[in-house]
Subunit: 328 residues, 3 copies
């Protein structure tokens, strides 16, 4: 498949996984995000670029942070956002996912942002509806806008995506269950970065090489030689009963503590998709110039603006002319 997932409505497209994107589409998204950053520093944060669009959020797993990032991104482009609070909605009344999406579409939405526990759910939705679908995390599969936002942060930190080819990035934590690790490895591999996946054996993927990555079970082996340490959030419930008998035994080996921090290369930086479990993944107060964590949140909004702009701007133009043909 080349390009974003195509869609029955001309010009409207979906973003369900990194492999859907061509290199030039990724570069285009980075360029759009950069334009929004410049506008933000200028006089206006809000535009009416998507003023006739409606975006729905459909989160089958809670995440206020990610949902708000998408919401603000859409609103800053002038779109309206409706939230289908899943627990309170028809979904809990036994309505099928396809019927829900048909309803969302009939209510007037142009795009739906989906977080779902099942791998592939957003792709399935994209095949069913004429909505543009954005994957906001599907099971342990992908979280493409997080990875694209992180790429934008890295590209800014190293002054251009071209400079990422020479960089080494360690992703640390529960690799096996991390959709961020999966999307980010896929993306960084495309730009020539060396990715090393770090975590205990029971949290490692079977074939790291399939993600274009090396792997290590030992953070101390890796910490001194990377440009970026990307710490994943630990789900405490995944620790108990696994390889590590407790959070303590996990943190002893994989926490960024003072000792490990001092061994990091002088200009290396720390990333984390948030929210940080202080005292678990991270036990050190990072100087501002060594942390990209807040920048990741900021850039996440800008990248999601870029994604909405790309998948909806044309659709919005086409909707009128197309519906004008079929519906008038």
């Amino acid at each position: 498949m080349t390009g974003l997932t195509s869609n029955p409505v001309p010009g409207r497209r979906s973003l369900t996984q990194i492999s859907d994107l061509s290199d030039s589409e990724i570069v285009d998204l980075l360029g759009r995000a950069e334009i929004y950053r410049k506008q933000e520093l200028g006089t206006r944060r809000f535009s009416d670029e998507l003023k006739d669009s409606v975006v729905a959020t459909l989160f089958f797993e809670g995440s206020t942070r990610t949902r708000l990032s998408f919401t603000l991104a859409a609103e800053r482009l002038g779109a309206r956002v409706i939230d289908l609070a899943v627990s309170a909605s028809s979904v809990s009344k036994g309505e099928s996912l396809k019927d829900t999406c048909d309803t969302v579409s009939a209510l007037g939405a142009d795009a739906v942002v989906v977080r779902h526990p099942n791998e592939g759910a957003p792709l399935q939705i994209a095949s069913w509806t004429s909505l543009a679908v954005v994957n906001a995390g599907d099971g342990c599969h992908e979280h493409p806008t997080q990875a694209l936002g992180d790429l934008f942060s890295l590209s800014s930190a190293f002054e251009g995506v071209g400079n990422l080819a020479a960089k080494k990035i360690a992703i640390v934590g529960d690799i096996l269950h991390s959709r961020v690790a999966r999307s980010l490895s896929a993306l960084l591999g495309r730009f020539g970065s060396k990715v090393v996946l770090v975590g205990p054996p029971d949290m490692m993927v079977d074939r790291p090489s399939a993600l274009g990555a090396e792997f290590s079970f030992d953070l101390d082996e890796v910490v001194g030689e990377v440009d970026v340490l990307y710490l994943l959030r630990i789900q405490r419930e995944r620790i108990q009963g696994g390889y590590h008998s407790s959070i303590d035994s996990y943190t002893r080996r994989f926490q960024l503590d003072q000792k490990r921090y001092l061994r990091m290369a002088p200009k290396s930086i720390v990333m984390h998709p948030g929210p940080v479990n202080r005292g678990v993944e991270l036990a050190v107060k990072l100087p501002e110039e060594r942390s990209l964590i807040s920048e990741q949140v900021r850039n996440g909004v800008l990248m999601r603006m870029a994604v909405f702009s790309k998948i909806l701007a044309t659709a919005s133009d086409d909707r009128r002319s197309q519906r004008g043909v079929f519906g008038d």
Copy 2:
């Protein structure tokens, strides 16, 4: 009572039940909805017709779908919408319904959309406050905007409300507890349609003729001779312990399955207020031209726009002049 329920604020009116509406008001609402449909097909979906208005939603029973339909309708006219999430609000702190409405009004709302388990609650609210009240479903009483939206869908499907006089519509399911059945029968009777209510004896109203309708306990008797089959949503908890001992025994007699679908008249259509319980009310994949279900959702938004426009547009003009007199 003729016309919409009157209101202490001149020009501002309430919609609590179908009988409040004169025939010419209904035709006016259909005309307004048609104008919004045409605008939607044109260049703009959003206007600033109600740009100074605030609409509050007050749902004592959950319904994301209906709430969002009202929300989008108001927003597409430029109004602001606030949601008084009932479980989290003062209502759960023992505040009286009247005090809640006074607060909503004092906060600056012009209209309140109410769903309430008690029959007549919206009418009571309308008598207490200067807010325009829209009934979004009160107990087993009425759901007038759903019925008006459905009338709009039928009018479009049969190319004009004038053609409804010759049509026969079966409403199938738990008639006794259905506010949709009540509002829709009342409305269709006004336009000369033949309505037949279909369901098991313990789910039938005592006097169908009071709704201007015939009745039947046997879907098979009716299915071949109607122009429209309107399936109601089954509340599973209502089945157990009633006439039917199980969902299975209910569906055997009242589900639209393949066999019954094949017996339907060639150009007849299927409606459902949603969300559909697949495998209960409906067990067949309907061809697009035979189903109005998505169209009902789409038209529900347009009809609610028409209602807001009618009950608030004048109010908004009057508010200024009137407050200008009394308050300045």
Copy 3:
């Protein structure tokens, strides 16, 4: 400390307690609220004064009424509002309050409205972040915008803040746990009003004089000689097991019933921050001219508009120029 709490972002300031405000700042806020009232009576309720601003609400205790008042105030000035529903958000995942605020700021918010069970939490947040912080109630400490809105209502009722010096105001109820009592006493004392705190001994503060107030354990002693009776909302769970063995014994002594109402001075008025427990604090239907309760809700929105305008308008201008310097 003079003036509103200062903030790392020039022009952006916080409002965490009444003592932060100088007399002239209070008068300025009253003046702004009055301007918004006049605009409301004129042609427009909505402006674009803060059209580039984003306000976040972060309520660790539920209060739909207060949250909506802030939300509408911000929206009427053209700002966007995001709600960080605390129970569903990262906060419940163990994220620290500081990290949450950093995220809110990085998402693009300019101000955060905080309600928190811990005294001083908003002040702490203001010291951590570059967000403008507005205290929407912290434990038993303060609720400054409620008190400022009430001051505005009193100032309007008595035709100018200058006339408050000659007035006597009784605040009745659970003084000990009331942040409204604390903020309002502090504020009224500044304008020369006589405040008398009325409640049972176990609900009285240790040193009423520290709040610039007198006190009484007997409402009957006070009710005939005040200009304003400000009834606090009773938390039923605070009654059981305290000085009063039941709600009944409390209401016998501190409820405004018909008998006490008839003893009030002819032009005296009743206030309540809402929501009213009918039959507890109040058991009489007040004539409109004797109750400020709805007016308090209305003026609460106008005063919060004044606060946002004061703490953000300059910030919004500065953000551009300042970021233009540091970030471009």
